[in-house]
């Protein structure tokens, strides 16, 4: 160890402010960058899931509307049939 | 011989897959009508065919040659009509068309330009700035190109009938038919039903999420 005790280590021969400021700023910046990368990875993974859910919803909606169309068409033809039946009677 | 053919084409736009593994060919005298909902990728397909945009994967061939390898030759024989008219509003109709013809190395007399504009019902509007014309009239100016490029083998038309009146639609349809009969190939999109008396191939693009 180059320094005699802890307080002189923190003092850095009177330049403590500048030295610790530099190291602090550097580690803080790297930490923030890492955190940003890490957190955005997590949000991205959850986004994938919500995107998937959204697509599933759209698919269901499309199927429903298709089914509704079909049943509406079937109903129409059914009523038409009934009408022709009625005329027959 | 196929004028334009497409092999295994896929196009991605804004990280959305519009279509993939698309294959088709348009022969001489062939008319391909591209259908699909809004956002299905019709315009994107046409822009890829024209060579304005690169496809994500797959290749486009113009008479058996990859369009990337014969760009000049391809563009020499192509007329592309897009959403944007390519008309400068501060220039007059005649100036616009002359400028276009020079770019495309089409030699044409001013009289022919005047004649064609007259055919398109633009008499008296030939030499005033295009900005003073109505939307439909501006479109007619742009559509006059169909009469000029004689050596064209392929027309790629993106919604050519928008903003035209019935008479205009008929005029353009007639010109398209004539081009087809002369052995040209046409790829077209249109929201109005085509009123062409000509055998049509159809390609429907599904809207994907």
């Amino acid at each position: 160890m180059h320094f005699d005790d802890i307080s002189s280590f923190f003092d850095m021969g009177g330049y403590g402010l500048y030295v610790w400021l530099s190291f602090g700023a550097a580690s803080l910046s790297l930490l923030v960058l890492w955190l940003d990368s890490f957190l955005s990875k997590r949000t991205l993974l959850t986004q994938v899931l919500s995107e998937q859910a959204r697509q599933a919803r759209i698919k269901v909606a499309a199927e429903q509307s298709a089914a509704a169309e079909k049943s509406a068409a079937a109903e129409k033809s059914a009523t038409a049939e009934q009408r022709t039946h009625g005329e027959e009677i | 011989m196929a004028v334009i053919s497409v092999i295994n084409l896929s196009v991605v736009k804004t990280d959305r897959l519009l279509f993939e593994h698309l294959n088709f060919a348009v022969e001489q005298g062939g008319l391909l009508y591209v259908k699909g909902q809004n956002g299905a990728g019709k315009t994107s397909l046409l822009r890829v065919l024209a060579g304005l945009v690169n496809a994500d994967s797959g290749k486009v061939y113009f008479s058996q040659q990859n369009i990337k390898d014969c760009r000049d030759d391809y563009h020499q024989h192509l007329v592309y009509f897009g959403h944007k008219l390519g008309i400068n509003l501060t220039l007059s109709a005649v100036e616009n068309l002359q400028y276009w013809c020079k770019q495309h190395q089409v030699v044409i007399s001013v009289d022919r330009i005047f004649n064609t504009l007259a055919q398109l019902n633009l008499v008296g509007l030939e030499d005033i700035p295009v900005a003073n014309l109505s939307a439909g009239q501006q479109r007619r100016v742009a559509l006059a190109r169909f009469w000029f490029k004689q050596n064209a083998k392929l027309w790629i038309l993106d919604e050519p009938f928008t903003a035209l009146d019935n008479q205009g639609i008929e005029l353009i349809s007639k010109q398209i038919t004539q081009f087809l009969i002369g052995g040209g190939a046409v790829v077209i999109t249109s929201h109005q039903a085509l009123r062409l008396d000509y055998p049509t191939d159809e390609l429907t693009l599904e809207y994907r999420i």
């Binding site: 500048y18 030295v19 550097a26 960058l33 959850t46 998937q52 | 991605v12 736009k13």
Partner: protein
């Protein structure tokens, strides 16, 4: 010749490669950077001219060195992407850019903090600081150009062109700033006397450069994964991956 590289151009493979390398680079980088910093801060001898303030060198020099290499790496990625049309290359470029910007920022802050005790001002228009500042602008330009586009494929190409313009300009900037600096205040520049640096000082410096490089590489791997996920958000393998990770996090 390039055949062996080809599988890694496929995003999925790249993702798993990053996944495999990530823990190694992170742990090793963290260890080296901590070791070098402690050595530099507590055990390296004092500089007879600058006393303890010189210890800023152990963050300033690594960040300054890295900022330039990261810009070059980014430009190389851009070049590969533009010439061979490799999509993963643009992703690498955009994964590198924020790291480069951060590192350049660190080198500016530490440069200022070093300048205050040595030159008496926080900001001196010194050649190195000035070209670092311009470098930061170049990084920010590339990043904001990329962000401005909706279509990320288009964005990659555009940012790539700008990165290339920047890298052609970088030596000219460096040279011009030096010229300008000697013209205006040749005498005030203080020489560091690098060659005469004793090995007890030099070793921690080299180690800390290595540590910074490793940590940057680790963050790059992480960001690269993010870029891939973002671009491939609808692909089945990404969905499977997301499902797996969500069940994992629910389990713990």
């Amino acid at each position: 010749m390039w055949k062996w590289l080809h599988p890694y151009a496929k995003p999925e493979h790249t993702y798993y490669l990053c996944q495999r390398l990530l823990p190694w680079f992170s742990l090793l980088g963290l260890a080296v950077i901590l070791f070098a910093s402690v050595w530099g801060l507590a055990f390296a001898p004092t500089d007879y001219q600058q006393s303890e303030a010189y210890r800023i060198i152990y963050v300033h020099v690594p960040s300054a060195v890295l900022s330039k290499s990261l810009y070059s790496a980014m430009a190389i990625a851009a070049f590969v992407g533009l010439v061979w049309q490799v999509k993963t290359s643009f992703m690498a470029m955009m994964a590198l850019a924020p790291i480069g910007a951060t590192v350049t920022f660190v080198s500016l802050v530490t440069g200022a903090a070093w300048g205050k005790p040595m030159w008496g001002t926080w900001w001196e228009w010194d050649a190195r600081l000035t070209s670092q500042l311009i470098l930061l602008f170049l990084f920010l330009g590339v990043i904001s150009l990329y962000k401005a586009f909706e279509d990320k494929q288009q964005a990659g190409k555009a940012a790539g062109v700008m990165a290339m313009v920047g890298v052609i300009n970088l030596p000219i900037i460096h040279y011009s700033v030096q010229w300008w600096n000697t013209l205006h205040q040749g005498a005030t520049i203080m020489k560091l006397g690098k060659p005469s640096m004793p090995p007890e000082m030099l070793w921690p410096l080299l180690l800390s450069i290595l540590g910074w490089a490793l940590v940057s590489a680790a963050i790059f791997l992480l960001r690269m994964q993010n870029e891939i996920l973002q671009r491939e958000i609808r692909r089945p393998w990404v969905v499977a991956l997301a499902n797996k990770s969500s069940t994992l996090s629910e389990g713990t």
